[in-house]
């Protein structure tokens, strides 16, 4: 089962949102989360910054994604610690639904990074100097996940990503399917652990 469309390569305009510590409350305010599902969230993306007043859909022309050239940009340029705060995966679902497929930042908050990998957004960790240079060049970029390289015109920048994350993103793999292949190892662990730490395994609902 495929969990999301694979993203071996992303090409498109890179929208600059260079603030540090952009939190998931900013990416999607809680008031914009209206249903028990993973869809219908793109309209609430960056709602506090994107619209002139809460609850409206009146675009604030100053916000980067409201500039026509950045509308539905597949690449986002960001500052340190992007995606900090609440674990709400709605932040990633909203970004994905809006069209974002790669985020370039010097660092990501850990839960947000994990959520990206489970949903088909490449979290590219790269120097702030490179992020700034790409923002200044203001151009279409290619994020080549397989080659672990960003191409921005003539300049190329290599990036690191661990093998598991890379494979999941490049092939759109479902984590549960992958892990269930290790079912025998999990069963062996549980059998031994039940003897070593029986108090972990609650049996009856008291």
């Amino acid at each position: 089962m495929s969990a999301f469309p694979p993203v071996p390569r992303v090409e498109g305009i890179a929208a600059p949102l260079l603030r540090d510590n952009v939190d998931t409350d900013a990416i999607i305010p809680s008031r914009e989360i209206k249903g028990v599902g993973k869809t219908g969230l793109a309209g609430g993306l960056f709602a506090g910054w994107r619209y002139t007043a809460p609850g409206t859909r009146d675009p604030d022309p100053d916000f980067v994604l409201n500039q026509p050239r950045y509308a539905h940009a597949p690449v986002l340029l960001a500052g340190e610690n992007f995606g900090c705060g609440s674990s709400r995966e709605h932040a990633v679902w909203a970004l994905h639904e809006y069209g974002v497929r790669a985020i370039l930042a010097p660092s990501f908050a850990p839960i947000f990074r994990g959520n990206c990998i489970r949903n088909g957004i490449i979290p590219v960790v790269i120097d702030m100097a490179v992020v700034r240079a790409i923002a200044a060049a203001d151009m279409v970029v290619v994020v080549d996940l397989l080659a672990q390289r960003i191409e921005a015109g003539e300049s190329h920048h290599a990036f690191e990503i661990d093998e598991e994350a890379k494979a999941m993103l490049a092939e759109g793999l479902d984590g549960i399917d992958l892990t269930l292949r290790h079912h025998p190892a999990i069963a062996v662990f549980h059998a031994a652990d039940r003897l070593a730490r029986p108090w972990i395994y609650l049996r009856q609902e008291p």
Partner: protein, 467 residues
């Protein structure tokens, strides 16, 4: 054969290691906790994919985030919020998962009730689709927040796959001055090293000032680890932890209790264990801390000035935006700022010891005219305990509202909120733009500082009231 000294982190991790994968480890998960806001979607999605919860007896759920906290509550005040409550009820029933619902006597904020019920135990791995799950590391567990999809993974497989973090030890040495709390310790760490300063690390809190904290203080300290960007945080469990847990609902008993105790006694870093990083902080010079900006790192001592330029690690644009959003003046004293509201509660500071300390400061005093002050107990058990001691009356007499338990105004979901434009002093963990409502200006601080500020009508140093 000599045995290499190991960190507590290595012990917790290796105990749960099921398999090594390609650059990640497969880690067994002992306990899963869900709340209605992010857990409902995980349960729905799992059911839609026709997947089974591997062991429902080790999964728990609660309604805490969007439940009404006014007396006589029946559900939620969030428009359209009912769907989250309904989905949580339906899906937990279908999956055979124990739900602590609005009317349950054990209802409360997930990270408050988990220790109360001994769902978290020393040496366990515990996950919840909520970033402040790390609070529960105060009991010597490896507890961390995940996304909803990861919660599905944990429920379906009993494991999570994740890269092994590095181990940091943060030691607070010396004694904490009076009127200064665990909250101020956490904010000092984050202000010094940045909101991303703990990234890639699991943190062991140690040192005399940490060992001297009560359990509530330890939970507060570990709670804020996610605001430091850490994967998790924990404290080696001691007799305080063991005697708290003994006899509680889901704790082992009899021979199993004694066997568990024998195992838990080894849950500490060995002498000479090597950490990837060590941070030392002198606790004796920490002051009450209060945030001026829109990140927990934008925090200063209560007698300090709002900075004139970005602290290292914060960009110029972000600094200007934070100053403008918060309506503060660079170079002015933070304790000159008049407040409109004061909030005591949350998974950070809504426990009985927090309420006792705040109540002691408000006793016989009055909330300043025009200030909307409220206390929201972290759990129904905390509320009952506080009422049995008469704390509710102390707060009410001073002019505070006294509420039912839940997350309440810690965050804004579209229902109840503070008056537009309010400046709020809050015992919560996040001062993000809009966290407590559009345009609301949040200053985070200890419950003592919140109490002192409510009385003064402006941000105020609690040490002036501490005898």
């Amino acid at each position: 054969m000599s045995i290499e000294p190991r960190t507590l982190f290595a012990k917790l991790w290796d105990q749960h290691l099921v398999a090594r994968l390609n650059g990640e480890d497969l880690i067994a998960i002992d306990r899963i906790f869900l709340h209605e806001r992010t857990g409902s979607v995980a349960l729905r999605s799992l059911a839609a994919a026709d997947r089974r919860v591997l062991d429902p007896h080790r999964v728990f759920a609660v309604t805490d985030h969007i439940v009404d906290t006014k007396a006589g509550r029946t559900g939620t005040l969030v428009p359209g919020g009912d769907v989250f409550l309904t989905a949580t009820r339906e899906e937990t029933r279908a999956a055979g998962i124990r739900l602590f619902d609005v009317d349950d006597r054990d209802q409360g904020i997930v990270h408050v009730i988990s220790p109360e019920l001994a769902i978290v135990l020393p040496g366990t791995t515990l996950v919840c689709p909520d970033s402040h799950t790390c609070s529960q590391g105060a009991f010597g567990a490896l507890a961390w927040g995940i996304g909803s999809t990861e919660a599905e993974h944990a429920m379906a497989t009993g494991t999570l796959r994740l890269p092994r973090p590095m181990a940091t030890r943060v030691s607070f040495e010396g004694a904490l001055p009076s009127g200064v709390t665990a909250k101020d310790m956490a904010l000092t760490l984050i202000a010094r090293y940045g909101a991303g300063g703990g990234q890639g690390h699991a943190i062991e809190f140690a040192g005399a000032a940490v060992r001297g904290l009560d359990l509530e203080g330890r939970l507060t300290l570990c709670n804020m680890a996610t605001e430091f960007g850490a994967m998790s945080a924990f404290i080696a469990p001691d007799d305080l932890v063991f005697s708290y847990l003994e006899g509680r609902r889901y704790a082992p008993s009899g021979a199993a209790w004694r066997a568990a105790l024998a195992v838990w006694a080894g849950l500490k870093s060995d002498e000479g264990a090597v950490f990837d990083r060590e941070i030392r902080i002198d606790a004796s010079v920490i002051a009450p801390m209060v945030s001026w900006g829109t990140s927990p790192q934008s925090t200063i001592g209560i007698d300090a000035l709002v900075p004139r330029q970005p602290e290292s690690g914060l960009d110029v644009q972000g600094f200007a935006q934070a100053i403008a959003y918060m309506g503060v003046e660079p170079g002015t004293r933070i304790d000159d700022l008049a407040i409109d509201a004061a909030f005591i509660g949350s998974c950070t500071n809504g426990r009985i010891a927090d309420l006792r300390r705040a109540a002691a400061l408000v006793k016989g005093r009055k909330v300043a005219p025009g200030v909307h002050a409220l206390v929201v107990p972290g759990s129904s058990a905390v509320r009952r305990a506080a009422e049995a001691e008469g704390l509710d009356q102390l707060f009410r007499d001073a002019g505070f509202e006294w509420r039912m338990s839940g997350c309440s105004l810690c965050f804004y979901a579209g229902g109840e909120g503070f008056a537009p434009g309010s400046r709020v002093i809050s015992s919560t963990n996040r001062n993000f733009e809009g966290r407590q409502g559009p345009g609301i200006r949040t200053h985070i601080a200890s419950p003592e500082t919140v109490a002192a500020s409510a009385i003064a009508g402006r941000i105020a140093d609690p040490r002036a009231l501490v005898q």
